[in-house]
């Protein structure tokens, strides 16, 4: 279980974005988080992805408290949580081919490709030709497909989707969400952050709505 209790987080001193928030992600379940932009959904996603240190409160990963964040948390812990960001164009190094983007976590953690790359790129519908291209040569939707494959390539136990579909069209949205639902069915705990209520109703098991 990935959980956060009584989180207080902010960017500027004295102005917390989240104040006393609790959330739990269970393996195999999808929690939807809805709310207008600026309500702190993405901040919560960043904390759960261990990329942002909260001011106070605790984050627990599979029963063990997480005390450090970003680089300082062990690689094993941070790679057990996959993240997909809102803007695929900002979330990839513009110099890399899509293939390098998808493989990056394998390279960084010195793991071998046991066929997972082929499996995932097929599932997100990226052809060999598309994988050879660089980000400026593909559409936002195609890039986000690569980003989802990258987030899943280390078989994370949890997946954080921070507004994963807000830049992509309906058909790509359906494809990405179907894949995330299938990994959730295989036991991954998913946080689906979105401002689209209709989408979350079709995607998540429970939806938390923030004002």
């Amino acid at each position: 279980m990935l959980s956060a209790t009584d989180l207080v987080v902010g960017y500027r001193r004295g102005r917390p974005v989240l104040d006393g928030v609790d959330i739990e992600l269970h393996p195999g379940a999808t929690v939807g988080l809805a709310g207008p932009s600026g309500c702190g959904k993405s901040t919560l996603a960043a904390v759960l992805a261990l990329l942002l240190e909260p001011w106070s409160g605790s984050v627990t990963l599979d029963g063990r408290p997480v005390r450090r964040f970003r680089h300082r948390v062990s690689a094993a812990e941070r790679t057990s949580i996959g993240v997909v960001f809102q803007q695929p164009r900002l979330a990839v190094d513009p110099r890399w081919t899509l293939d390098a983007v998808v493989r990056a976590p394998l390279v960084a953690s010195k793991r071998r490709d046991d066929g997972i790359v082929a499996e995932l790129t097929e599932a997100v519908g990226l052809t060999r030709e598309l994988l050879g291209r660089r980000p400026h040569e593909v559409s936002d939707g195609q890039l986000q497909r690569a980003c989802l494959a990258r987030a899943l390539v280390l078989r994370p136990r949890y997946l954080i989707c921070d507004e994963m579909t807000s830049m992509v069209d309906a058909s790509t949205t359906a494809l990405l969400v179907h894949l995330v639902r299938s990994v959730a069915a295989a036991g991954t705990g998913v946080l689906a952050v979105s401002h689209d209520d209709a989408l979350l109703d079709a995607w998540a098991d429970d939806v938390v709505r923030w004002r």
């Binding site: 207008p36 932009s37 600026g38 809102q86 803007q87 519908g125 052809t127 598309l130 559409s139 936002d140 939707g141 195609q142 507004e163 807000s166 830049m167 992509v168 069209d169 309906a170 058909s171 790509t172 949205t173 359906a174 494809l175 969400v177 179907h178 401002h195 689209d196 209520d197 209709a198 989408l199 109703d201 079709a202 995607w203």
Partner: protein, 348 residues
């Protein structure tokens, strides 16, 4: 100059001068094609961004142009505003109907585009308006400057700047759904939705006949999307012709009077929005609607073709062979059937 204009027929002239209430065309796009030559003289490939696109924008109506990202729909805004890059070529016409004579936007000289068309007769509501604002000045200062520039009169080539009263600027902001108090903020203090409304107010500043909204709702949440689309509908209600270019079908369904569906650079289906969305004829339109969470949530298999390499014949059947419905006759050119346009998949 003369070869860029087309004399209108006297009947149309009479209709405009008499100020008849029937929805008059504000902009007619007539078999417009845009292509980009890559490399030196196109040796590295040719991007067929738009092929034989015909659209008619009427005053008081919203036309939604929908399609997946990368289908070529956004290139139309650049073409209509004369902002295509140096490697682009066009074919066909885009006539901006004015009192008396029409202006072909594809061939009009830069001078008329900058002094008469951009901002004055055609307003642009951009995608992510925040990046269109100067970070060091307040929204009010930028809006007031735009009003001064656009409402000034041109006399023998020199622009006499008009005055922009506080009331003018506040009025514009209110029409765009923005409280006048928010105008005193700097762009970084504005949320995405507010910045989008400032962008909308800037587009309205010149009181244009035509509004082009290029993916104005990308990245906004549903409430803000509704604000933006309501704003476009309100502008149309005041007599503006609106072109909403979007991949967000929910937004298009909410506001459009007419709809056109674009695939691989071509219009594959067009008609009154209610009919097109309730009873789509083209398998691509059905696929788009079926991908919505409340429409079945099934993705369309494959990818849209590269615009450098568009298959001949029906491009959609090259992606999804033998889609359900009436058989495809393979003709990429849309034909008129019962007040609607449909390419290839003509209903029996």
């Amino acid at each position: 100059m003369t070869d860029t204009r087309v004399t209108t027929t006297s009947a149309e002239d009479a209709a405009t001068s008499a100020g008849t209430r029937q929805p008059a065309s504000a902009l007619t796009v007539d078999r417009l094609s845009v292509r980009f030559l890559l490399g030196r003289k196109g040796k590295a490939g040719v991007v067929h961004a738009a092929t034989d696109v015909s659209l008619r924008l009427r005053r008081g109506r919203v036309l939604a142009l929908v399609g997946e990202s990368g289908c070529g729909k956004s290139v139309l805004t650049s073409a209509l505003l004369g902002l295509l890059p140096a490697n682009a070529q066009t074919r066909g016409r885009a006539l901006l109907h004015g009192p008396g004579d029409d202006l072909d936007l594809c061939t009009a000289p830069e001078r008329s585009m900058s002094r008469q068309v951009r901002g004055r007769r055609i307003g642009l509501v951009p995608q992510s308006a925040a990046s269109h604002l100067t970070p060091v000045r307040t929204a009010r200062a930028q809006l007031a400057e735009t009003v001064r520039q656009l409402r000034g009169t041109t006399l023998r080539g020199t622009t006499l700047r008009g005055a922009a009263s506080r009331g003018d600027v506040d009025g514009l902001a209110e029409r765009a759904g923005l409280s006048p108090a928010a105008l005193d903020a700097y762009p970084h203090e504005l949320s995405g939705g507010m910045a989008q409304r400032v962008g909308f107010a800037l587009a309205l500043a010149g009181e244009p006949d035509v509004l082009l909204a290029d993916e104005p709702t990308t990245g906004l949440d549903r409430v803000l999307v509704d604000h933006v689309t309501d704003g476009l509908a309100a502008a149309a209600a005041e007599g503006t012709a609106v072109l909403l270019i979007t991949h967000d079908l929910a937004a298009a369904r909410r506001v459009a009077d007419d709809a056109a569906v674009m695939y691989a650079g071509r219009i594959v289906e067009a008609g009154p929005a209610g009919e097109v969305f309730a009873d789509p004829w083209h398998p691509y339109t059905r696929g788009l609607l079926g991908a919505l969470p409340d429409g079945g949530f099934e993705p369309i298999p494959g990818h849209p073709p590269e615009l450098t390499d568009v298959p001949g014949g029906c491009a959609f059947c090259a992606r999804v062979p033998d889609p359900p419905g009436p058989p495809c006759n393979g003709d990429p050119e849309p034909v008129a059937v019962g007040g609607r346009l449909i390419a290839g998949h003509v209903p029996c």
